[in-house]
C-alpha cells in the first residue's frame, strides 16, 4: 500500500487526515503492525527543543537618510556580521554583548520576537553613494524589512553525551559537569526527534516545510557537520511570525550564549516502511558518553549508551550509578508535536515533498591544521632538587640560574614544586629548614605530547606560571613556563 503526499494533503483539505505524535505512533505500530498502521495513520509529528548555538538571523534594516553602508553593526551591543550589502546583517545567537554580562545574540533575537525594541548602532567608512559614517537608532521587528531566522545546524539526530573524569568542575556547552563522573548530560530528544523518525531522509529534505519556533519554516539542506546517523538540518523561517514560547535565549554559565530552538517536522506515512521508521524506540538509538576532561578534539569514549538509558535519569559508569541531565526539553518537544498535530488536523499546515534529498552518507572531517604544537617543542630542561635540600640552597640555585620554579623529585618521581614566591615567604618568616616543608605537594603538570593551548589553559585556570613536564611514570622530563608558551602561541 502506497500513499502520496498529494493524497495526504487532499485529506488535510477535506479534514479527515489522521495525525498522531511520534510518541503515540510507537504504540500504534506495536499494536497494529507496520502495514496496518500505515493504512490508519497519515502523518506523524516529531519534535525537538534544544540549545542550538548554530542559530541566528538575517536582517535588512532599510536605508537611513543620508544612507550608510554599514561596515560594523551592533544590536544591543552584540555585533552582527555585515560584510554583505549596505544594510544587511547576520546576528549569530552565540555572539556575546560587548557591554552586558551573560547576554548575547540569542537574547537580542528573543527580545525582538517578544515585540521589544533593540538599539541598532553602525559605523562605516563613507562612500560617494553612502556618505553617512555612523548611526544609532532603535528598531523593532515591525521596523525592519526582513528578519529571517537562518540556522546552519539544528535538529541533531543524536549527540554525544558528556561526563567528566577529572577532579575539577567543568563548565561546558554541555552544561556543568561535576568532578569524578559526578553526572552525565546529553542532548536531543531520541525517539521523538525528527531525523530519527526518517533515518533514510526519504521525506525530510530540501524544501520540507517545518514548524520553527511557532512559525512555518523550511529545511534548506543538510546542516553543517551533517554525518549520519548524527544528521543535522539547515533551516530558515520568518522571525516576524515566531512565538516567544517556542524559543528561549540561554546562557550556559562559564561557556556562553545560545538559543533554545523549537522544531517540529511532520512525517508523511507513505508506506509500511515509513510506519516502521516512525516506530523507532529509544532503546535502538545509540550514542557515546564522552569524557570532557580531555580538552582535545578526540575525547575518550567512556562507554556506549542508548537514549533509553539516558532518559531513565541514571546510567552506570565504572560500576557506579551516575545521574543524568537532559539538556533538551522533552516537555517542550511534546508541546510542539501536539501543536503541529493540531495545525495539520485543522488544515493550517500542509505537507511538502522534498525537492532534493539530503545526503545519507557524509563524514565530519577534522580541521586541516598546519601543525599541532605540543609541549615537547617548547619545554626546557628542568633543574630538579631532592626534598631534603635546605631552603637556603634552593634559594641560591634559583638566583644563580635565574629560575623561578624548581620541581622536587624523590626516587625519580615528581613529589612537589617550589617557586621563588615560596622561598620569599619562607625567608620573610625567617623559616629555616628543608624544601619538603614548604613545597606545594599537589603539583599541576603536563605531558610532552599535550598541545600547548591545553597547557596554557591549565596555567591560566590555576593561576600558575610553569608546569613540570612528566612521563607516564611521573618522571620529570622538563619544564614549560607561561612566558615560553605565550611567545609561541602569539606567533
Amino acid at each position: 500500500m502506497v500513499k502520496t503526499i498529494n493524497e495526504i494533503n487532499q485529506k488535510i483539505r477535506e479534514g479527515n487526515v489522521v495525525v498522531v505524535t511520534a510518541a503515540e505512533m510507537k504504540e500504534i505500530v506495536e499494536e497494529l503492525g507496520a502495514e496496518r498502521a500505515a493504512k490508519e495513520v497519515d502523518v506523524v509529528t516529531t519534535g525537538t527543543f534544544g540549545a542550538m548555538c548554530s542559530s541566528g538571523a538575517f536582517f535588512n534594516f532599510g536605508h537611513s537618510d543620508p544612507p550608510i553602508k554599514m561596515q560594523r553593526v551592533w544590536m544591543n551591543d552584540v555585533e552582527a556580521y555585515t560584510g554583505i550589502a549596505a544594510v544587511d546583517a547576520y546576528l549569530g545567537a552565540a555572539q556575546l554583548s560587548e557591554t552586558a554580562e551573560e547576554y548575547g545574540g540569542s537574547h537580542v533575537i528573543e527580545e525582538l520576537v517578544k515585540g521589544r525594541e533593540v538599539e541598532l548602532k553602525a559605523t562605516a567608512y563613507g562612500t560617494d553613494c553612502y556618505p553617512r559614517k555612523e548611526i544609532v537608532t532603535e528598531i523593532s521587528l515591525e521596523d525592519v524589512n526582513q528578519a529571517v531566522m537562518l540556522n546552519p545546524r539544528n535538529a541533531y539526530q543524536r549527540y554525544n553525551a558528556a561526563t567528566n573524569s577529572s577532579n575539577r568542575l567543568l563548565r561546558t556547552y554541555m552544561g556543568t559537569l561535576l568532578p569524578n563522573f559526578g553526572n552525565v548530560t546529553f542532548a536531543g530528544t531520541g525517539e521523538i526527534s525528527p531525523l530519527n523518525n526518517d533515518p533514510e531522509y526519504r521525506t525530510i529534505g530540501v524544501g520540507t516545510r517545518i514548524f520553527l519556533c511557532g512559525a512555518k519554516g523550511y529545511v534548506i539542506g543538510e546542516g553543517t557537520q551533517h554525518a549520519p546517523p548524527y544528521g543535522t538540518l539547515m533551516v530558515k523561517g520568518n522571525l516576524k511570525e515566531m512565538k516567544p514560547e517556542f524559543m528561549r535565549a540561554a546562557y550556559f554559565p562559564g561557556y556562553g550564549a545560545t538559543l533554545f530552538v523549537g522544531i517540529g517536522i511532520p512525517i508523511p506515512i507513505l508506506d509500511a516502511d515509513m510506519a516502521r521508521f516512525t516506530a523507532v524506540r529509544n532503546s535502538e538509538i545509540e550514542t557515546k558518553i564522552i569524557d570532557f576532561s580531555v580538552a582535545r578534539r578526540d575525547r575518550p569514549v567512556v562507554r556506549k549508551v542508548t537514549y533509553e538509558e539516558l532518559i531513565s535519569g541514571k546510567v552506570e559508569i565504572n560500576g557506579e550509578e551516575v545521574r543524568v541531565s537532559p539538556l533538551s526539553s522533552f516537555y517542550m518537544a511534546e508541546k510542539i508535536m501536539e501543536e503541529l498535530k493540531r495545525q495539520v488536523e485543522r488544515g493550517e499546515f500542509s505537507l511538502t515533498a522534498p525537492v532534493d534529498r539530503i545526503p545519507t552518507k557524509e563524514i565530519f572531517k577534522p580541521m586541516r591544521q598546519r601543525e599541532i604544537k605540543v609541549v615537547k617543542s617548547v619545554m626546557v630542561k628542568a633543574h630538579t632538587i631532592p626534598p631534603e635540600t635546605p631552603i637556603e640552597e634552593a634559594a641560591r640555585l634559583m638566583i644563580d640560574k635565574g629560575l623561578n620554579h624548581l620541581p622536587v623529585v624523590e626516587n625519580d618521581v615528581l613529589v612537589g614544586i617550589i617557586t621563588s614566591w615560596d622561598i620569599a615567604k619562607a625567608v620573610a618568616r625567617n623559616k629555616k629548614g628543608v624544601v619538603r616543608e614548604i613545597m606545594t605537594r599537589k603539583v599541576i603538570y603536563t605531558h610532552p605530547d599535550e598541545p600547548v593551548e591545553v597547557a596554557a589553559r591549565k596555567m591560566e585556570k590555576n593561576d600558575i606560571s610553569a608546569l613540570p613536564v612528566v612521563d607516564s611514570r611521573k618522571r620529570v622530563l622538563g619544564i614549560v613556563t607561561s612566558e615560553d608558551l605565550s611567545r609561541l602561541i602569539a606567533r
Partner: protein, 128 residues
C-alpha cells in the same frame, strides 16, 4: 522549619548548636554547614513548635537567624524544563514529573545554590 544561621568571626568559635540544644531540649538536624575561620553558615531543621524558642536562644548568642519558609524558587515563565539542574542537585530535590516538567521538592532542598549556578535561563533563585 528550616533556619539559616549566620555566624560572624566571634560567634563562629562558640559551640552555639550544642548550647541551644541544652537550653531548649530541642532536636536540631544539621542539613548543611560551611564554616570558615572568620564566618560561617549552617542550615538546620527544627520542629515547628520550637522555632521561636530556638531563635530566641540563638539570637541571644549573637547568631543571625533567617527563617527559610520556601525552597529554591523557579520562575516558570523562564524555565524550559531542560533538566540541566536535575543531575546537579546533591539531595535529588529536582526531578521530572509525569508531564516531563521539572519540579522542586521543597522538603529536600538544602539551599546550597548549586542549581542556581547552572541554569541556562536564570530561572532559579534562592529566596533570601
Amino acid at each position: 522549619m528550616r533556619l539559616l544561621l549566620r555566624f560572624d568571626s566571634k560567634t563562629v568559635r562558640e559551640p552555639v548548636i550544642s548550647r541551644t540544644t541544652l537550653e531548649t531540649g530541642a532536636l536540631i538536624n544539621i542539613l548543611r554547614a560551611s564554616v570558615g575561620a572568620r564566618r560561617g553558615e549552617i542550615l538546620i531543621e527544627v520542629e515547628d513548635e520550637k522555632v521561636k524558642e530556638i531563635e530566641g536562644v540563638l539570637e541571644k548568642l549573637g547568631v543571625d537567624v533567617v527563617e527559610l519558609a520556601e525552597a529554591v524558587q523557579k520562575d516558570d515563565e523562564l524555565c524550559v524544563h531542560c533538566g540541566a539542574c536535575v543531575s546537579i542537585c546533591p539531595t535529588e530535590a529536582i526531578s521530572f514529573n509525569g508531564e516531563k516538567r521539572v519540579v522542586i521538592t521543597a522538603e529536600k532542598c538544602v539551599h546550597c545554590g548549586a542549581c542556581v549556578k547552572v541554569c541556562p535561563t536564570r530561572a532559579l533563585s534562592l529566596p533570601l
